[in-house]
Each structure stands twice: as C-alpha cells, then as structure tokens.
C-alpha cells in the first residue's frame, strides 16, 4: 500500500513516515499541498494521504478540496494530521472531504487505530 505524507515540517514527515513504513506502507513525502498535487499528477496514486493543515504555498484544506474535485482521485483516503484542534476546523475539514482527522500530538497507536477504522491497515498488520 502507498501513502503520501504532506507536512511542511520535515521532522513531522519523518515521524509519520516512520509510523507508516512500520505498518508496511511505501511512503512518499511533500512539503506542502502543491507539492502533494504534483506527486498525484505524476500518476503516483496512494491509498492514503496524511496531510497537515497549516502549510505555506497550499494548505491542507485547499489540498483536500483540490483532490476531491478530481474524480480520478476519488479512491484516495484523506486523513488530516494537524495541530488545528478547534471543533469548527475539524468540521470544515470533514465537510471539504477529509475522511479522518488526527490531532497533533498523536501516538503511533492513534494512527494505527484510525487506519484500522478506515480499513487501511495492511492485512498482515491487521491480523
């Protein structure tokens, strides 16, 4: 399974990447939403995108809206991973098309639990 991790913090990209690789994902990273769209435009279509909210160039909400407006990317599951924890912001993200919302700080178990709920744990991990 493939995952794209979009976060302007390289440290946070490394952390999320390490968690997902530990679950068996093949992971690519991007520093903001526009870079993330570039990866998708290349034809590298992941099952999962973990995307931060506050980023330069293109923020996570704009990214989610852009992905949802393209029918070719309908299969992608979008998970916001962000320190934006106001209820109104969570509602906005879900309304824009995000499937799940993880608030920083998180634990590896929290990510794993969310992926389990989404049916996105690789089979050998889920067993």
């Amino acid at each position: 399974m493939r995952a794209l991790v979009i976060d302007d913090s390289r440290a946070m990209r490394r952390i999320v990447t390490a968690i997902l690789e530990g679950l068996g994902y093949e992971v690519r990273g991007a520093g903001h939403g526009r870079e993330g769209l570039d990866v998708l435009d290349e034809g590298w279509i992941p099952e999962l995108v973990c995307v931060d909210w506050n980023m330069p160039v293109m923020d996570g909400l704009q990214f989610v809206s852009a992905v949802r407006s393209n029918p070719a990317w309908r299969s992608i599951t979008l998970m916001m991973v962000t320190s934006e924890s106001e209820h109104t912001q969570i509602v906005r993200a879900l309304a824009a098309g995000a499937h799940e919302y993880v608030i920083k700080p998180f634990t590896a178990d929290a990510i794993r639990d969310k992926l389990g709920l989404l049916g996105l744990l690789p089979q050998e991990v889920a067993l």
Binding site: D8, S9, R10, A11, M12, R14, I15, T17, A18, N54, M55, P56, T82, S83, E84, S85, E86, T88, Q89, I103, K104, P105, F106, T107
Partner: protein
Amino acid sequence: MTSTDTGERRRAADTRPVITDLLVASTVESIAGEAWVALVGEDEVLVPIPGDLPVDPVSAWVDVVGPWTGSVVLTTGRDTAADLTRALLGPAVPEELEDEDVADAFGEIANVVGGNVKAALPGPSALSLPDVGAAPAVRNPADVCRIDVLWRGQPVAISVQGALPALPLPHPPHENPMHENPMHENPTHENGASL
C-alpha cells in the same frame, strides 16, 4: 435634549481579554506535557521547576490571531533545542544535525503546543506557521501566562503572551489619561534573556 460623551461606552467596547482571564498556567503545563510525551518520548517529562535560561537562548513560536491575539513561545538553550530535535526524530535523526533540522523540529513542537493552546482559547482563531529565532517582545506584561520547566534538567520556558499593547486604564472622565498607563512604557520581560 443633549448628552455628554463621557467615553464610558467606548471604554466598555474596548474591553479585551488578557491571557490570564482565559488560561491558567496548569493548562499550559498540561498541554506541553502531553506534547512532550507524544513527540519527544513516552518517558520524557517536564518538571515544573524554573531554571536559568542561557544568555543566548533560542525560541520557537506560533502566533494566534482571534478574540485573543498573541504568541505561544517556547524558549530554551541551543544545545537543549538540538537534544529535543534528536529525541523527536529518534531513529530518523540525520548523522549531522544542522541548524535547519533544529529550527524545523523545535518549530514543530511550538506548532503543536500552540495549536492546542489555541484550542483552549475562545475562537475562532487563526494559527500562523512556526517561526524560530529571538522571541517576540512582551508587549503587555499583564497579558502573559508563562511556565518554566526543566526537561532532562535543562530549562525550558513556555510563554503565552499577548501581541497587543495594554489598553488604557479606565479613568474618571475629569482625569487626564495621557500620563496614567505605565504599561505603554517600554515593556520588557522580567525573566527571559531575549523575551
């Protein structure tokens, strides 16, 4: 019928909360503690004991803009910031840690702490991208909620500080407001080297 403008209505509309009306230090301590455990490591605790910051500290902060406007500022020594980066990155830490790595990691910790502080404040508010360097000046010493803790024996300060100058103090209409408010006079922080 005529009426006299006493300024009372304007002053009532000018009421702006200071951070100590909205947040207590224990909330900041709790938010920071959770961030440390999740980001830095399960056994990494913040001990609520103040320590002396080095003379050349580094700060990372995010700005909150909303009903309360200000910054959430983390300040520590440069070596401690580097240690935090190593702990945060764990096995993913590069062999040669560069300043950019430290700024990125320390900024992300400020982002996580700041985002959760924002959620504890009245909203809606916007959160800026993190910045790293010399901390923004304290504009109004009455609008600061600060905790001082130790991490691995090293001092870390977390300051939630208003970005706006103090409002004029309420005064009877017959008094001259021009020389009453000491908050406007060169606010400085009593504790941090570059705060």
